[in-house]
Symmetry: C2
Subunit: 315 residues, 2 copies
């Protein structure tokens, strides 16, 4: 069967990544430019169009199904990026209609978490699933919900903020201004907070991360220390898994998806995170759902996931 | 416009209620019989058929669109009632197909919480809504989720157990065997537990419910005492509202519905429950959802809600 192609664009605060994605989920060619190099939205649009032109040119100008764009605060319903805090010039720009006119092709915009869910559906582990959820652990915690193979958007396009459901009433202060959100316990920041809380609760800590200040910590460092046997680091992942499994059990009580896919940097800790997560999920799952829902790591390669997700918007 | 009709049946542990429901949401005639009078499923089916025959006969034998059945553990996907603990003979009986053969009409089965959501959609306050949630406070807490005007069922037909999402990690023990479920804080039982906790925390309680043992308490009694100024009873509803508003804010973080409808016995406390619920909802709602979601009491009359919900399954 002949392959079809789509362009996926992941607009981040630092870089804008573009890729030509083949219908079997292979990103054949990539390009990127620093988002902040663009002084205004005209320059940004120009840069996008030129880069797409080059990508297609380099690949024999295949016909494409469209251009999908993932960005924080990208809104599928309005076709624009709301409050693009890292590039204010893009805020509320009708980027979908502008690019459709310029490129003469189908363009869709979505937030990166929803795009990730579609990426899993079109190219990853959810090809045969009806209902599933993806949870992306990163600086924050994003999520995408698919019901009957359609993204759950809500009438305002902002459904699926599982990272901001309140897991611990009156818990840790969250960047959103409230307390106890899932994000504060399971994001990269949350993992570091757990380590710091545990370290501060000790009389003295002489472990592997002894020389690191709070600010120097990262899930990667903590995972490396845990893999080398640092007890506090192991406990950090055990607690993170407890919270993540609990959050997933609550997702099931609402949605009863067939699977929950986890992705994002902290999931690279592998079994360190997954084992306690699965244990907590099992412990906290309402019994009627036992055996009906699985938690898995995303089937998409970490480096390609954002571009594949964006491309899936038009595939 | 000529009205159409449907039969709604609410199978409860104590009584089975039947009603002829007109398309404008009026339950024109009702009948009922004690569920436990039926020694086995054959007797039960016979009783259902006879009662429907009488209902139609008494109303000039109107043509009906079908028969809808609401029951705890009713499963829309299988057309049967799973684990009918109050009438074991009905457990896993293919009641939909049996009644369709006997009556020659369309029959649907659902759990009572999902039926309530459809009742709100067809006859109540959700006629013009795309996405909404109903939460029924009773002995337990049931919920129905509607997305794009379709019930969210999940592939096993058991989605939407919001009453069993965990609101307070390691909180009150729940009848489901876990801890801290929404149900343990917002059901009739939960309200009484809150009162008892508050009473036990006092050195001495000389309020209006002084003479009542833990077992004698009910939300109705506590509401009456609160309306007469009993401080502990008022505080009980304030705490209940706090938990209910928090649970609703978490529903929004998952689903972003347009409205959440509350129904069931404890909602008869009115402003006593609603004011603290709305305040807590406002306090705990992620800011992006502000002004987008309303909490309201069900628009269905309490006495008719179960029958209307059942009838809505086929309307």
């Amino acid at each position: 069967m002949a392959h079809t192609f789509a362009i996926g664009i992941d607009i981040g605060g630092t870089n804008t990544d573009l890729g030509l994605v083949r219908s079997d989920g292979v990103c054949t060619t990539r390009a990127n430019f620093p988002t902040r190099d663009c002084s205004d939205s005209d320059v940004f649009i120009e840069r996008i169009c030129t880069t797409i032109g080059n990508l297609l040119n380099d690949n024999g100008n295949p016909e494409i199904e469209g251009v999908g764009i993932g960005a924080p605060n990208g809104n599928y319903l309005t076709g624009s990026i709301e409050e693009a805090s890292n590039l204010p010039a893009l805020s509320n720009l009708p980027i979908k209609s502008i690019l459709e006119k310029r490129l003469g092709t189908h363009v869709e915009v979505s937030n990166d978490a929803n795009a990730a869910a579609l990426g899993e559906m079109v190219y990853g582990g959810a090809k045969d699933l009806q209902d599933f959820v993806t949870i992306t652990l990163g600086t924050g915690v994003g999520s995408g919900i698919v019901i009957n193979r359609r993204l759950l958007l809500g009438v305002h396009g902002n459904a699926g903020e599982i990272g901001h459901s309140i897991l611990v009433p009156d818990g840790r202060p969250c960047s959103c201004g409230r307390h106890g959100c899932v994000e504060e316990y399971t994001s990269a920041r949350g993992i570091c907070k757990t380590f710091i809380e545990l370290r501060n609760a000790m009389d003295s800590y002489n472990g592997m991360l002894d020389g690191f200040s709070d600010e120097q910590l990262s899930p990667k460092l903590i995972a490396e220390a845990a893999q080398q046997g640092d007890a506090l680091s192991i406990e950090t992942f055990a607690k993170t898994g407890y919270y993540l499994g609990l959050a997933c059990a609550n997702v099931v009580s609402h949605l009863a998806p067939q699977k929950i896919f986890l992705m994002g940097g902290p999931t690279q800790a592998g079994a360190l995170l997954m084992n306690p997560t699965l244990q907590s999920f099992e412990d906290n799952l309402l019994s009627i759902y036992r055996g009906q829902v699985e938690i898995e790591l995303s089937h998409l390669k970490a480096n390609d996931a954002a571009i594949l997700g964006a491309a899936a918007l038009v595939s």
